[in-house]
């Protein structure tokens, strides 16, 4: 039985125009599900489930070695972290490292990409050399760079000694230790930024370059007015991904300084998660630090996305 709204007429099905197909066929839906579901399941199992689990654990006092059930402590782990006298140093280390790593690798990566976008002799070999460290394990690089920074036998002390300057002790002065880890990290990850920028440079509109050249625009003006605006999307992409990866640096710190010197000289938040969870047997506290980190990264990412939206 069909009901009609007063004042309207029932259309004659025979007279109805052929409707445009807007829905997906069952076959398409099944194909999409077959393609998406495996990844989705893996993502849920190995990324989002631990995320939820982490938040849950952060409300417990839990020793990983213990066979006893974890003790519910509410927000105590969070309160402890905020009131810990070491927290400002750890947050500051994380901020300094992240800002320096993001800015350093992006500026240097862009500079190298601009340079090697030119037709230079041997540029293919140089490109490979710049990218190579990115695929080497951080732990291996950490070990190798100890021979660079060692204040007694390292490469840097040798170079400085030749010009009559005493090498700083990179392992015992917290500022220099953080500098050492940051420089090593930038060196390792430069190849990633470089390759992405290089690809973007090679895909840019060359006619704009030619037009600028015909107008006799200076190289600096051309860089800022013609080249860089075309790299905005790439810069945004890199700023997000490099920030996320540098926030999570662990291997270099573990190999080079173990969070020291002076207790927490190079301790970052992600290293603190490891230290508290596995060495101090405070998995709940470690989970709380990880949750705080997650929220910080989330907020920064959202701000970046919003800023990009506004620019667009």
């Amino acid at each position: 039985m069909t009901s009609t709204i007063p004042g309207t007429s029932v259309p004659d099905p025979d007279l109805e125009l052929p409707r445009r197909k807007s829905g997906w066929s069952l076959q398409q839906i099944l194909l999409a599900a077959a393609l998406i579901l495996p990844n989705m399941i893996l993502l849920i199992l190995f990324t989002y489930r631990p995320l939820v689990d982490n938040f849950r654990i952060s409300f417990f006092q839990w020793n990983l070695s213990s066979t006893r059930p974890p003790l519910f402590v509410g927000f105590r782990n969070y309160a402890d972290w905020f009131s810990d006298p070491g927290t400002p140093t750890i947050v500051m280390n994380t901020v300094i490292f992240t800002v320096a790593a993001v800015a350093g690798s992006m500026i240097l990566g862009l500079a190298l990409a601009l340079l090697l976008d030119q037709k230079l002799f041997g540029r293919a070999a140089v490109r490979s050399m710049i990218f190579a460290p990115y695929v080497i394990s951080g732990a291996a690089i950490g070990v190798a760079f100890q021979f660079v920074f060692d204040p007694q036998f390292g490469l840097i002390q040798d170079l400085l000694r030749r010009i009559g300057v005493e090498s700083p002790n990179f392992y015992q002065d917290p500022k220099w230790a953080l500098f050492m880890v940051t420089v090593t990290y930038i060196w390792k990850n430069l190849g990633y930024v470089f390759v992405i920028y290089l690809a973007a440079l090679q895909g840019r509109r060359k006619d704009l370059d030619e037009a600028a050249e015909i107008d006799d625009t200076s190289p600096v003006r051309r860089l800022f007015r013609v080249v860089l605006p075309q790299l905005r999307q790439t810069t945004f992409f890199l700023s997000v991904t490099v920030l996320l990866s540098s926030f999570q640096v662990f291997d270099l710190i573990q190999v080079m300084t173990r969070g020291g010197p002076l207790g927490n000289g190079t301790m970052t938040m992600v290293y603190q998660v490891y230290e508290e969870s596995f060495n101090n047997n405070r998995a709940g506290y470690g989970a709380a630090v990880a949750s705080i980190m997650f929220l910080i990264v989330l907020v920064i990412t959202v701000i970046q996305v919003r800023l990009q939206d506004r620019q667009d």
Partner: protein, 434 residues
């Protein structure tokens, strides 16, 4: 539809979640012993190969396999340090396959015992026919808790002093170590002069167990890290020891280095405060003659340390029995002598020094005898609870000692902070479980 920025936001979320996953990666909360894991028939021995002993361990395992072909053993790399191995074991406890035997250090064994992650061994010894009394008493008793034992001595060490003999002679000093820290302070200017301004003694920094090396020094001043569970950093004598260390560092008499072995080995310091476990490596590396000596007194002025072997609680009874038999074999008289000669660690069975093989070795290598004699003479003592039993104790104290030496911070303030943090950790993490 999801756009590029949406995708990036999602990627950010996933990456951030992956970070968070670090602390949740061990799975659910709590691990259960249950009836015990049965295993796959191969005994899993997790080791970090203390004292670069991997080849030695493989050799001893090959010997075991000859004698016990029905119980094959697999040597599994557990990381490069005791802490790495503890992390790996923690992950296994939270949901993985448990090993049969693990190396548990002076710092890590207690947490496992307190939380019932490793098995009490006394009943297993009886069942497996192990003569526990044949182990050196002090080394065996280091693993006692609540009237039971949770480990068997393996790569056991003490702190030792290493002195460059040529420099001692050049400084006009006797060929021996200082008998007190005050005597060291008197010697130091002469040694520094003989070294052309380089330190008289080098000690590893706080990230490399300075907290272990300093423990003997603090005892000789009448101080302690703790009196059982009561922290005693605030004790005036503890603070006096801290000030002594700081003064000697400031005066250039003591150097604090990341790789103190290397510094000493290339002639960067007249003396070295290190473990017995470094003896074999230094004997091969150093290009000059050196002697090993006791740590300064009054007794006790040195700590025991190193690691033992423990058995997970969550494996089946049959596996536990095999594990205990394997440990007994690995540390029997012949093998502990082989291990000691190959690494520098002390033999863990009573009377090893009287065995022909060891006697000959000690005659040829008098430096190796020092640690054994130091223990027999009562210059060693078990460590303070604040370092080895309170979670994060070693790192906390090491960081504090770095602050007063490398950082030049006020000793009383730093020690007060360690006092408070140790007490907090005890109240929160230990007291409820005792």
């Amino acid at each position: 539809m999801i756009g590029r920025r949406g995708f990036l936001a999602l990627a950010g979320l996933s990456a951030a979640a992956a970070t968070v996953g670090l602390s949740a990666c061990a799975g659910g909360t709590g691990s259960t012993a249950g009836d015990g894991q049965k295993g796959n028939g191969t005994l899993q021995f997790w080791s970090n190969h203390p004292g670069s002993s991997k080849a030695l361990e493989e050799q001893l395992i090959a010997e075991w396999t000859k004698q016990h072909p029905d119980v094959p053993v697999q040597l599994v790399d557990g990381g490069s340090s005791y802490e790495d191995l503890a992390t790996k074991f923690n992950a296994a406890l939270a949901g993985g396959d448990l090993p049969d035997v693990i190396v548990a250090s002076d710092v890590t064994w207690f947490n496992f015992a307190l939380n019932q992650a490793t098995a009490p061994l006394d009943d297993l010894w009886k069942e497996a026919g192990v003569d526990a009394n044949s182990y050196v008493d002090t080394l065996r008793e280091d693993y006692a808790f609540g009237g039971k034992h949770y480990g068997m001595p393996y790569s056991r060490s003490t702190t030792l002093m290493y002195w460059n003999s040529d420099v001692l002679a050049q400084a006009g000093l006797e060929k021996r170590g200082p008998q007190t820290w005050q005597e060291f302070a008197d010697w130091a200017p002469k040694l520094v002069q003989a070294m052309g301004g380089k330190p008289a003694l080098v000690i590893p920094d706080g990230s490399n167990y300075l907290d272990w090396y300093f423990q003997g020094m603090i005892w000789t001043f009448g101080g302690k890290y703790s009196n059982e569970w009561t922290p005693t950093f605030n004790d005036p004598k503890s603070i006096e020891a801290g000030k002594f260390l700081q003064d000697q560092y400031k005066a250039g008499h003591i150097g604090i280095e990341k790789d103190a072995n290397n510094t000493f080995g290339i002639g960067g310091a007249a003396g070295l405060l290190q473990s017995t476990g470094s003896l074999t490596g230094l004997t091969k590396a150093a290009k000059f003659p050196f002697i090993t000596t006791y740590l300064p007194g009054p007794k006790p002025g040195a700590t025991t340390g190193g690691a033992g072997l423990a058995v997970p609680n969550g494996i089946s009874h049959e596996r536990k029995i095999n594990a205990v038999k394997f440990i007994d074999f690995l540390t029997n008289m012949q093998n502990t002598i082989t291990f000691s000669q190959g690494t520098g660690y002390v033999p863990v069975r009573k009377g090893a020094e009287n065995e022909a093989a060891m006697k000959t070795y000690l005659e040829q290598n008098p430096n190796a005898f020092t640690a054994i004699k130091q223990m027999a003479d009562g210059n060693t003592a078990p460590q303070d609870y604040a370092r080895v039993f309170v979670p994060g104790g070693g790192k906390r104290i090491g960081g504090g000692l770095d602050k007063i030496t490398l950082g030049g911070e006020d000793v009383a303030t730093v020690f007060a902070s360690m006092q408070q943090e140790t007490q907090q950790s005890y109240d929160r993490d230990i007291k409820p479980l005792l």
